[in-house]
């Protein structure tokens, strides 16, 4: 086809469930040049199409799925997808990124982006195959767990190659941190997008296609891929990642002293090996599994071979789920952790948020602030896994005390009127499994991330190098790349946020592209030239990343987010780390924030982007829109670059 856009499927699918109308739109060149794909496409559209005041669980919210130009071709790291909507958990940007095989299949079915509007009156699933869309009655599978629904839909369609996005009972009961699960074990879990899908009465979205993707310069592409293959295979992290995935982080975090054990009261524990990725690799893992087109198969299939839970099997877990169901809730029993993860997955919840609501309740219980009467008889002592398994079901089905926790920790603390200081979230999104007192760049990242407390918006892994030379070279400040340093973190986080926005928009793997530094911006530019055939400089592409971050910021500013919301819970600001290699540290957030806003070209008083910055990024529509909402934009004197010199 002559109008074919290399690297892209070239079309956007819009499905309105209220009217059952389906529309195809061409992918515009303006969107490609300005936002590249995935997260960029979604947030640009969310900004325009989901205005202020929309009810997240109402029919006017939109649920979007988008992938990028490096997916579905033989690049050894491209398989990702972003799911985006207004979040029912936080009321701001809802966005989550997932791997697996769905994104590529969506492109073969003909689409780079799928937008779901309106709401169905009865349960349905949507079957998208080779450009056709069927809305199929799903009364019989509503209420089923993820794994059961997966089996039944596959059998019903008689095609094992379909890729399915499914919600579980937790989403159907509008648990505000329920996720969307892709073929059973891979969730886009954060920010409660499962509940958005449930509010539209969609049990599943199925994609299947016989289409194809072409690259602009095939010969160059072959060479480029061979170079990437060698860089990946020869990387020092290749084998540790292949044998353990991110589960290897647990022991490392214990060594460096930033575990979230017992709700961030114990940064080191003496039982770390018992619940580690290393132990999983030795005693549990039976095979590796990979995302589509990935040569670093870091996912692991496990079987519990002994004990009362023998016979339990599944895929994973990654570090976040592993630490969440072990150290964070004071549990040293790996079998029960795997069982809890399997249960929470099958019911369809985000285990990061889940681990926080449980750990929060446990800390209150242990301190005598929460009575057994209030927990409906559950003994929430640290590590009581019998109670945890029961509580997971109570949350998913919103029974009793579980109903309180199902709204997330911020709302639960408000409703209970207790433990507000102990509710560990930023902007309503629960914190991940790392104590920011021992990882200060990450801590700043949690505070400013556009979807709330989260590491994946910035992932400034380089501070773990603890190498001052790197910081001096990249950011003109040796402390920038010291884990416990403060100066230079603003520039560090701003730069890594821009890079991560590109990773999420090209939809490549963040572990390989960013953490292993296989796809730095200079390689991204090369990939775009070879795959899509567009010429951008490194500066150009970094501007795209910065643009995406600024549109997200504007989106949450429009919802009322200001500097005072770029905050961390009190424990991390005031209580010194009790022991371990980070002992004595708190996090010097305000100083880092000042530097961050300067690096961003945002008003340091309010955290609102300045007119100059928005103009520089070509975001005139954002300027007009924010002003029409009565938001005053300041003019900065001499806004600075956020990229390293």
């Amino acid at each position: 086809m002559s109008d074919r856009i290399y690297g892209y499927a070239g079309r956007v699918l819009r499905i309105n469930l209220s009217t059952e109308k389906v529309k195809e739109e061409p992918l515009s060149k303006e969107l490609i040049y300005g936002y590249l794909g995935g997260r960029g496409f979604n947030v640009r559209r969310l900004y325009h199409e989901v205005p202020k005041g929309i009810e997240p669980l109402g029919s006017r919210n939109k649920l979007m799925f988008a992938t990028g130009p490096l997916v579905g071709i033989g690049l050894p790291l491209g398989a990702r997808l972003n799911v985006t909507a207004k979040s029912p958990l936080t009321g701001i940007l809802g966005d989550s990124n997932v791997g697996g095989h769905f994104a590529a299949e969506m492109k073969y079915a003909g689409f780079d982006q799928i937008i779901i509007e309106g709401a169905s009156r009865r349960p349905v699933y949507i079957y998208i195959h080779d450009g056709d869309v069927e809305i199929v009655e799903a009364e019989g599978i509503w209420g089923l767990s993820i794994s059961k629904a997966y089996d039944i839909i596959r059998q019903e369609l008689g095609d094992w190659r379909i890729q399915i996005a499914i919600i579980g009972p937790a989403a159907e009961n509008l648990v505000l941190f329920s996720g969307i699960f892709f073929n059973v074990y891979r969730p886009a879990a954060r920010t409660g997008l499962g509940a958005v899908m449930a509010s539209k009465m969609i049990k599943a979205i199925v994609v299947r296609g016989d289409g194809y993707v072409e690259v602009a310069r095939p010969r160059d592409f072959e060479r480029f891929v061979e170079e990437l293959e060698e860089a990946i295979y020869a990387h020092e992290q290749y084998w540790p990642r292949r044998s353990m995935g991110t589960s290897r982080i647990l022991l490392a975090a214990n060594r460096l002293g930033f575990l979230p054990a017992k709700h961030f009261t114990e940064p080191v524990v003496d039982y770390a090996f018992k619940v580690s990725g290393e132990r999983l690799a030795i005693e549990y893992n039976v095979k590796n599994r990979a995302c589509f087109s990935c040569i670093l198969p870091c996912s692991r299939f496990y079987v519990i071979k002994n004990g009362e839970l023998a016979g339990t099997y599944g895929e994973g877990p990654e570090y976040e789920a592993l630490a969440g169901m072990t150290v964070r809730i004071g549990n040293d029993d790996l079998d029960y952790a795997l069982k809890a993860i399997e249960l929470a997955n099958d019911l369809g919840m985000d285990i990061i948020s889940l681990s926080e609501v449980i750990a929060w309740a446990m800390e209150l219980y242990e301190r005598g602030l929460l009575s057994r009467k209030e927990t409906d008889g559950l003994d929430l002592s640290w590590g009581n896994m019998e109670a945890v398994l029961r509580l997971i079901e109570m949350i998913a089905y919103r029974e009793g005390f579980g109903d309180l926790l199902a709204d997330g920790v911020a709302k639960a603390a408000k409703r209970l009127g207790k433990g507000l200081d102990l509710a560990f979230h930023v902007k309503g999104l629960e914190m991940i499994q790392a104590d920011p007192r021992g990882l200060k760049g990450y801590g700043l990242g949690f505070a400013v991330a556009s979807r709330g407390a989260d590491h994946l918006r910035s992932e400034p892994f380089i501070e773990l190098s603890d190498n001052p030379d790197v910081g001096r070279r990249l950011f003109g400040e040796p402390e920038a790349t010291l884990r416990l340093g403060v100066r230079g973190k603003g520039r560090l986080v701003a730069y890594y946020e821009n890079w991560c926005a590109l990773v999420d928009s090209l939809e490549v793997c963040k572990n390989i592209a960013e953490n292993m530094e296989i796809l730095p911006p200079s390689k991204m530019v090369e990939a775009l030239r070879i795959v899509v055939g567009i010429n951008m400089s490194v500066d150009d592409i970094m501007k795209v990343g910065e643009r995406i971050v600024n549109v997200e910021r504007a989106y949450i500013v429009r919802k009322g987010i200001r500097r005072s919301d770029d905050m961390l819970p009190r424990r991390f600001l005031r209580e010194p780390m009790p022991k371990g290699p980070s002992a004595g540290h708190t996090i010097e957030l305000e100083r880092m924030l000042d530097e961050y806003y300067r690096a961003r070209g945002w008003d340091p008083e309010t955290g609102i982007p300045t007119v100059e910055k928005l103009e520089e990024l070509g975001l005139d529509y954002v300027i007009d829109d924010l002003m029409s909402h009565g938001i005053r934009l300041k003019k900065a004197s001499g806004s600075r670059q956020s990229s390293p010199p």
């Binding site: 071709i73 033989g74 094992w160 039976v286 590796n288």
Partner: protein, 171 residues
């Protein structure tokens, strides 16, 4: 001597890198639907299994073709004579392994041609060594069988099955 692709499913991780590069090498596009190797997957139970032409002799696909459009070379590779093929799909039906599909574009059977024979792209690209080309050389282990006890003989029998999955030709 005929060489064929050997699969060690215990090593397959289901990345489908083989499918993508197979479709690219033969059709110039990236798409599993245009691949001559098919990775069967079922995520819930951790199934990843590459299916590829086994070069059966006699070959049910050749026998089933009503137009004599499939021929076998001396190298054992089954090839499609485009001019004779009308895309009826009898070969697809006949293949006992489900290793043949019709190309979505031209409705022609997609049958593994070992990329000509020397270095199939799927073998080259597989990140886990799950695919091998069955070699010409044969290794004779029968002297070992005679030399040792029952336990060794049993273990060797089992091990030979494993070695064949590695693509070795053992007797």
């Amino acid at each position: 001597m005929v060489r064929r692709l050997v699969v060690d499913p215990s090593k397959c991780v289901g990345c489908r890198y083989c499918e993508l590069w197979c479709s690219y090498k033969h059709e110039g596009v990236f798409s599993p639907s245009f691949s001559r190797i098919i990775v069967v997957k079922d995520d819930r139970i951790g199934l990843d299994y590459p299916i590829v032409c086994r070069m059966c002799d006699p070959a049910p696909c050749i026998e089933a073709c009503p137009n004599d459009a499939l021929t076998r070379g001396e190298d054992g590779i089954i090839r499609v004579v485009d001019a004779k093929c009308n895309g009826c799909g009898s070969c697809v039906e006949a293949c006992p392994y489900g290793a043949i599909r019709l190309s979505p574009r031209l409705r022609r059977p997609l049958i593994c041609d070992l990329c000509g024979g020397d270095e199939p792209i799927c073998v080259k690209k597989c990140p886990t060594n799950a695919l091998r080309l069955y070699p010409l050389a044969e290794e004779d282990l029968s002297e070992n069988e005679k030399a040792f006890d029952k336990a060794y003989r049993y273990a060797l029998e089992e091990h030979k099955r494993l070695m064949r999955r590695w693509g070795l030709h053992v007797r």
